[in-house]
């Protein structure tokens, strides 16, 4: 008697009956066990560094697509980089869960503004955001910039706007932040190292 998988399940539909039937020798011919398919086979692997603490663990990010132009990358799995001298493949509970950080429902997607006194966000374009922010800055800077102090010493400082720099942004972003803030005369510049 030939029984394919589907028929076999039908035969076993009673659940309990299955054991009996099977025991009597009604086994499908291909009664193999399946393990779950290995999910990384041709995924694109990209090397990165965990953005949380300062151990700086190496991570491998796996994304959909093999790099073909028509495929949209989406990172679906992250694990430790076994080559990395510090973590040697390990990740802590934060690092091991990074994929949920990347895909957090609370990721911001569009520039927005909350107008004075309003109780909601309004989506705006990048152009509008840059224009309005620059306009605020210029107005404040022009009104409050200090070129000389009381003793007549050139100080060229702007104290009424400050900048709180990140803790996980790259050196490169940090360097541009430095150039940006200091060229404007800002002194209220700090980063997470302060706290």
């Amino acid at each position: 008697m030939q029984v394919n998988r589907r028929q076999f399940f039908k035969l076993c539909a009673g659940g309990m009956a299955g054991s009996t039937i099977a025991a009597l020798g009604f086994m499908p011919e291909k009664a193999l066990a399946d393990v779950r398919n290995y999910k990384l086979l041709r995924a694109t692997e990209t090397r990165n560094t965990c953005p949380y603490c300062s151990v700086g663990c190496g991570i491998l990010m796996y994304s959909l697509g093999d790099g073909a132009k028509n495929a949209k990358s989406e990172i679906f799995h992250i694990e430790g980089d076994p080559d990395h001298p510090v973590n040697r493949g390990a990740l802590c509970p934060k690092g091991a869960g990074l994929v949920d950080f990347i895909h957090s429902p609370n990721r911001l997607k569009h520039p927005e503004v909350r107008e004075a006194g309003s109780n909601e966000w309004k989506r705006i374009s990048w152009e509008e955001a840059f224009e309005r922010i620059a306009r605020h800055m210029k107005a404040d800077r022009d009104a409050n910039f200090v070129e000389k102090n009381a003793d007549g010493v050139t100080v060229n400082r702007w104290l009424t706007t400050g900048f709180l720099a990140a803790s996980a942004s790259s050196n490169e972003a940090g360097w541009l932040t430095h150039k940006f803030t200091r060229s404007l005369g800002m002194l209220a510049v700090d980063n997470q190292a302060r706290v």
Partner: protein
């Protein structure tokens, strides 16, 4: 990824023995060194991440344990026990999950053919499509590990990352373990490593340090190094002498042959209901005792 039948050691509710020509297969094991575990839960996260599981965001019930118990979406959880003896406090933290017994009580209790498989490398794996959700695996498990998913009425538990191990990779929890408290390799290598650890622990004053590889279930493919191997119950009620429930033994030894000659299903059903519910109650009682 299909596994050829020759890689299978046992199959639930299937009295005919699978082919066993590939007897040279390496027996694998996961060793959990409780004495270097920091209870960080990286293994919990990596397990859920790899297996695409997301449990509910629960609540805090006054302890660090979260999720509070194993579920169909949480295949491993850390169990924290504050133990104070002779003025010395110890915070014993044990990673709980499937032990991958050599004599798997779940498999023996399972009435659905092929729903539980034991591979030649020692991994005990559930085949969800064959699972009928009866819950007998839970009753059969001396460690109270499998859990039924209410959404699809199927039982779930740790697979020892059979998908990774099949392609030559270590399980996700092993790889991620920050302190190297979870190790993976051949069972022989893991026992040898455990012996080194036990020796080292004895030099630090843990005279009763030892390996947990209980005989009652034929040994396990997930083993623990314990500081107090003489008292496994300190570790959130890890059973001292786990064994397959006598009821399951009865079913295996006496009733199952009857089933093979076609005993009426209705009779069996009542019987299964008994063993399905009975041991569960017993387990709850056990837990109460542990807490006391």
């Amino acid at each position: 990824m299909s596994l050829q039948s020759q890689d299978i050691l046992r199959r639930s509710a299937s009295p005919t023995q699978p082919p066993i020509a590939r007897e040279h297969k390496v027996e694998v094991a996961k060793l959990i060194d409780v004495t270097t575990c920091i209870g960080c839960k990286a293994c919990q996260v990596a397990c859920s991440e790899w297996n695409d599981l997301r449990d509910e965001v629960g609540e805090n019930v006054g302890v660090y344990d979260n999720p509070a118990d194993l579920t169909a979406q949480s295949w491993t959880v850390m169990r924290y026990s504050e133990v104070e003896e002779n003025g010395k406090l110890e915070w014993l933290i044990r990673k709980d999950g499937c032990m991958h017994c050599a004599e798997p009580g779940c498999l023996k209790a399972c009435p659905s053919p092929g729903a539980i498989i034991q591979y030649a490398n020692g991994i005990v794996d559930f085949q969800s499509e064959h699972c009928i959700g009866c819950g007998y695996c839970i009753s059969g498990c001396p460690f109270n590990v499998p859990r039924i998913n209410a959404k699809d009425n199927k039982a779930y538990k740790c697979t020892l990352c059979s998908d990774r191990v099949t392609v030559g990779q270590e399980p996700a929890c092993v790889k991620t373990c920050p302190t190297g408290a979870i190790r993976f390799g051949s069972k022989d290598d893991m026992k040898a490593y455990a012996a080194d650890r036990v020796e080292e622990l004895k030099t630090r004053g843990y005279a009763q340090a030892g390996l947990y590889d209980p005989e009652g279930v034929g040994g396990t493919h997930v083993m623990y190094v314990l500081h107090h191997a003489d008292r496994p119950q300190l570790y959130h009620g890890l059973p001292e002498k786990p064994a397959i429930s006598p009821v399951v033994r009865l079913w295996k030894g006496f009733l199952k042959p009857l089933a093979t000659v076609g005993l009426a299903a209705s009779v069996l059903f009542g019987f299964f209901h008994y063993i399905g519910v009975g041991p569960n109650r017993a387990d709850e009682t056990d837990h109460e005792e542990d807490k006391a």
